[in-house]
Amino acid sequence: MNNTPWSSVAWVLGASFFGSFGALFLKIGAGKLGRSIASVATNWRLMLGVAFYLFSSVLFVLGVRKGELSVLYPMVSLGSVWTLFWSRLVLGEPLTRPKFIALGMILCGIALLGLGTR
């Protein structure tokens, strides 16, 4: 018996993908921030980051309509894996050994959850 439909898994993993762009644009926007409130309001990168987060939340809600929260919620952690990639590719942050190990562990964990819900 399938407790969590694959469509729900796909929605939630999609949410994690777009959510990682939220983190990326907040980081880029925050780096260009001045002291004034106006510099927050006119910072299009921050706004784009927030928009990505909101879009990601809509996908997450569509995903958890069906299926198990105990499987779908931990799958959001795939977002960290995407974020590690963008940090390396866009921000030029080093992909250190702990990060690489964490990446592998999160992927293994998500695979185990997938096996557990079948």
Binding site: N3, L54, S57, V58, F60, V61, L62, V64, R65, K66, E68, L69, S70, V71, Y73, P74, S77, S80, P94, T96, R97, P98, K99, I101, A102, L103, G104, M105, I106, C108, G109, I110, A111, L112, L113, G114, L115, G116, T117
Partner: protein, 134 residues
């Protein structure tokens, strides 16, 4: 004398950050339960626009995302003064609370695969906080 005062302040600061993150995980897990409740109550095939509207109009979804916002603010406050490598493993407690609540509130079943999966992800998040040190 002055150094010991500083380290005491440091310790108090760390403890404060620790408590903030624990609160953040409890509120964050409660948020997920409310979001799941609200999402399950949506119609058979809502559009993205309907879903976005429901996040504002459905009480459970709205409450869930409000709590999620509060938990995020608590995490940011904690990270301002606390050490990331110490706080990230604590933050991963959210997964433990969500699992317990899923079983208690939604009567979801547990099996060795799921438990192992959650444990490995919690470990991964904890390792992630280790940051730049190689």
């Amino acid at each position: 004398m002055s150094t010991s005062t500083v380290s005491l302040n440091d310790q108090a600061q760390q403890r404060r950050s620790f408590i903030l993150v624990v609160c953040c995980t409890i509120i964050g897990a409660a948020a997920q339960v409310l979001i799941k409740m609200g999402a399950s109550a949506l119609g058979p095939s809502p559009t993205m626009v309907q879903t976005a509207m429901a996040m504002l109009l459905n009480p459970a979804l709205f409450a869930g995302y409000s709590l999620y916002g509060i938990s995020t603010i608590l995490l940011v406050l904690a990270l301002r003064h606390g050490q990331l490598s110490l706080l990230y493993p604590v933050f991963a407690m959210t997964y433990v609370w969500v699992t317990i609540l899923s079983v208690v509130v939604f009567h979801e079943s547990m099996n060795p695969y799921k438990l192992a999966g959650i444990a490995v992800i919690v470990g991964g998040i904890a390792v992630l906080g280790k940051g730049p040190s190689t």
